[in-house]
Subunit: 202 residues, 2 copies
């Protein structure tokens, strides 16, 4: 039995903090793990910037709701779901992902959660699992009797890709490709769909 684990941002949707940064005109929110590798430090920084600009969780949701999944993502996912179980395994936040998950036809998503007060000011964030989130998640699926096939675009996807029966980088950077020459790096949804289909022999 196969379960396909897909990253969300960069694979099926745009990056949500970038969307918010652009919609709200706050360039400081464009900072990602590439500039600030300490995730907790990055999140504390984002929460502070949001607060300073009086930006609330509903403002982020509205900014994100104006966006669409990446062109072709919905069609790819619809086709994938006809022959494989699929779970989105993402380091994004449930409340932010919601509008785009709706546009993707409500695939199941395992991600994290923002904590906001009554007015919607973000005060904290809650990781579903503190460390090695994606790796721990695919290992649990394997314990539950699945062979996993995984795909993602970034550093935090490498572990789940390597731990899976088959795995594919999707629209990743030149550096990640160079550092991981053993993982097939794909660029189109057709390539990804056919790679997953062939790994799952359907």
């Amino acid at each position: 039995m196969y379960l396909t684990c897909l990253d969300l941002e960069g694979v099926l949707t745009p990056e949500m903090w970038i969307l918010t940064a652009e919609q709200a005109g706050i360039p400081e929110l464009r900072v990602t793990t590439r500039e600030e590798p300490d995730y907790d430090k990055l999140m504390r920084y984002r929460i502070r910037i949001m607060k300073e600009h009086g930006l609330k969780i509903q403002d982020m949701q509205q900014a994100i709701a104006k966006a669409d999944p990446l062109p072709g993502a919905r069609k790819f996912l619809d086709e994938l779901r006809t022959f494989s179980q699929v779970i989105i395994v993402s380091d994004c936040f449930e409340q932010l992902a919601r509008p785009l998950i709706a546009k993707l036809g409500y695939p199941t998503i395992f991600c994290h959660e923002l904590v906001a007060d009554g007015e919607g000011t973000i005060t904290d964030y809650r990781m579903r699992i503190r460390k090695d989130t994606k790796l721990t998640t695919v290992k649990a699926f394997q314990q539950l009797g699945f062979d996993t096939v995984a795909s993602g675009d970034s550093y935090n996807d490498l572990d789940m890709i390597r731990a899976s029966k088959a795995g594919f980088l999707f629209r990743t950077t030149g550096q990640i490709k160079k550092d991981n020459p053993d993982i097939p790096a794909l660029e189109t949804y057709d390539e990804l769909l056919s790679a997953i289909r062939s790994a799952e022999k359907q």
Copy 2:
């Protein structure tokens, strides 16, 4: 973070072996765990009867494809998926569930698998997990950082209901209600939706 775990047959769809028994006119296939509590014995019996009647996996799929989810099930599930992650945790078989899962809008399903030869004759079955399938599954979700809320109609659902933060019997038998007076027993999708919503405080 909440994950709702739902049983499939009896909760969202009709019983699939009963559908096949009726479509194929083979009353022997109506036997369930109520008459034969030894599941392996029951499955061996079903496989033998299927073989004797020359009934193949595609015949079962066609019989099931003619059926629909229970009236109101799709609407219930669509609404549930707007505010909760949902996984169907079922003791049915993936190949048989497929046509009805499509009609339910492709919720993620964790179930078992039939083994068939090249012509479609069922030769064996493969359990995702051999023992305590539903309980093991919700416990793994809890390890992954979720609070689970569970609902089902039968004996094999009791463990996952009791292990969850909240749980509900749905359209169950008088006997199960009588034996489990501490578990709320609901009859309509509106009741179930509102019970889940209130357990997940959305």
